[in-house]
Amino acid sequence: MNLNQFNRRKFLLYGSAAFGTSLFLKACGGSSPSDSGSSGGSDTIKVGILHSLSGTMAISETTVVDAEELAIEEINAAGGVLGKKIEAIKEDGGSDWPTFAEKAKKLIDQDKVVTIFGCWTSASRKAVKPVFESKNHMLWYPVQYEGQECSKNIFYTGAAPNQQIEPAVDWLLENKGKDFFLVGSDYVFPRTANTIIKEQLKKKGGETVGEDYLPLGNSEVTPIIAKIKQAFPNGGVIFNSLNGDSNVAFFKQLQGAGMGPDKYPVMSVSIAEEEVRQIGKDFLIGHYAAWNYFQTVETPANKKWVAAFKAKYGQDRVTNDPMEAAYIMVYLWKQAVEAAGTTDVEAVRAAAIGQEFDAPEGPVKMQANHHISKTVRIGQVREDGLFNIVNSTKGPVDPIPWNQYVPETIGYACDHSDPAKGEKYKT
């Protein structure tokens, strides 16, 4: 009896303590959100930031959030948009696709944001896509992806396959060999990317000698390495679209198996400066990656950006492609809002097409298919963990969302500037 009474009291007090604490936290931390909400948001413009702050994807997505917050801070410091400050509402997708959909609904319906910057994995983007389409809202998506999609409601500022994967394959065919082994995480981006690569190799005289997929987060890569060794006893090209934690295991154990970059060059499409740092550069020196941006790109805009980023987040931090794409997209949105003179979704969407920006990677331009034209680069990991750019296109490459190697989508294109054409039309 006594025990139970005690427990109840304890619970009550713990409960009230927790409640008190939360009130306190609210008073302490949330200076801006509550003020503006009550005044009807007339002095700020609300935007949503929707990324995984917890779970497996947090390791990558938190860096993108940093870049987005930096851009918003810069814009606010320069006077904001349409004379108002931008107020970012952050939500945690928790590396869980249904949660992404729920949080997207919440940001749109409850917080009435004017646009959302968010998502990393294709699965999370595909989970929120119906939400944005049914509510006719706007998402800005900063990561390279597999294409085969061209939503009216999404702006893609990462690379389409023809701006990353296809040039990388071409470069490998020219410089490294004709036989490919494809390794990827077991989800939509690697699967689709590898479908494209297989078709491309078929057309260009290369060969796919094997492919294997690892569950997200799995670190037991011994079977895969054994398969590669079996397929390439004397070396060959590995095309790697692993994502997240598995990369660490893959490179550590690849080196352990005595398979170095001289005989087994690995081309990665999900490894950038941040990932190199997390994997440990010693395992990666000499391997390749294909991106549109590397921290070592020599442009004035990049120097400025890297300096600003390090000043805010610390000298030991690095910048990478998705972060740069995230940084770009906030500015492109800002320019579109200013061109439209309003934050209305329809108007901004129309105004966004044709916006140009002098990005760290070089000039970019939003095309009518809601993707941006970007410069393509291939980099090799060097001693300091940054990339030595070994190949680069002359200027920006125009994006092609519907893939021209995959039989199902050959001859299709996307044009949102013309309502008659829309997201998928036959050229």
């Binding site: 006594n2 009474q5 009291r9 304890k10 009550l12 007090l13 713990y14 009230s16 303590a17 008190g20 604490t21 306190f24 936290l25 302490c28 702050l53 917890s54 779970g55 497996t56 947090a58 390791i59 990558s60 938190t62 860096t63 077991d186 997929y213 690892l214 569950p215 987060g217 799995n218 670190s219 037991e220 011994t222 079977p223 895969i224 054994a226 398969k227 060794k229 006893p233 934690d245 598995s246 990369n247 660490v248 295991a249 550590k252 154990q253 080196q255 352990g256 198996a257 005595g258 941040e274 740092r277 997390q278 994997i279 440990g280 550069k281 010693d282 395992f283 805010k312 987040y313 610390g314």
Partner: protein
Amino acid sequence: MSLLISSLFNGVGIGAVLLMSALGLAIVFGLMGVINLAHGEMMMLGAYTTYIVQNGAKALGEPWTDIYIFPALFLSFAIAAGIGLILERSIIQKLYGRPLETLLATWGVSLILRQFVRSVSWGFVAGLVIFNLLFFGGRAIGLQRFRKARSRLPSWSNTLLFALSAAIGITAGLLFLNQGEQSFWGKLWFSARNVDVTPPAWLRGGLEVGDVTFPYARLFIIALMVVCVVGTYWFLQGSRWGLRIRAVTQNRDMSSCLGIPTATVDALTFALGSGLAGVAGCAVTLLGSVGPNLGSNYIVDAFMVVVVGGVGKLVGTIFAAMVIGIISYLIGSGTFAFLLSNMVSSKSLGIVWLMDVLNFFATSSMAKVMVFALIIGFLQLQPGGLFPQKGRAVDA
């Protein structure tokens, strides 16, 4: 021949990692009947300890960067064991006899530990220390006073003390953190991103014998596993406390009657199990990533090892880990399918079908499905695991 050797080696290599991560779990489960869902997080703590030691070694320079792995192993054990001890004393002990509730409580602990490494900073630690000083200091003083006055501590006093010190601790922590992410107090130690642990140079690369390569990291882990197993065996079979642990494992009530301090045995075992998890965590940094989610990548496989191995017998756990390791390698690498196609020349319908099935499962994701199906099948034959305890208990 080389196929056989490399398959066996790779399988044992996978099995060694499984065994390392399951060993502590099996001991705790055998003794206390408790599954510790925070076991994976103990591994994670070990891995993060290794990261810290590595950074220390980098600062110290040459000889240390080559041998830091040894102090790291020791420290991983000590830290994980310490946290395990605290965990047992503060929570698990209170739930004795309620294994299902313990399961849920340890899950709560694992969530908290995961979030802890994400958001830990000096400011955070400062807040935590202030809270602990106030709460436990206050309690000690209170107890002393009341003992002098020969009256009981009012039952609400603990709660009040908790609330007050929590409020002060959190406030102080927030004040520290408000100095910004770049300040000494606000800077995150690890953040939510992975950290890199680079093994010493002599553990990278591999030993080539003929056309088979033995990665040094795997060899090291296999050696470490042997050391751990032998050490645990020695401890359980050869030491006084080991004897007590075995006694409590066999019959708790009887041991208690005979004057064995079962509470101390529980605490010791739990600390030992956690410490072994810490060592496992240090070992897997040679192979995989180090991040807040490290534990969840290994924990379910460790459960399977425990289930197949059965309760209370170390040899079962060892066997189970090796068997699961080898089978999952053979299926996952497609070696089974490959061997079958070589051995059987006839193309009868049954064989073709079997080949299709094996090829379907010959990816890393699907191999897990297959291994699990085999385990369920195995449990139909041997519900008590590989080496069931003999006895006349009602419950198998």
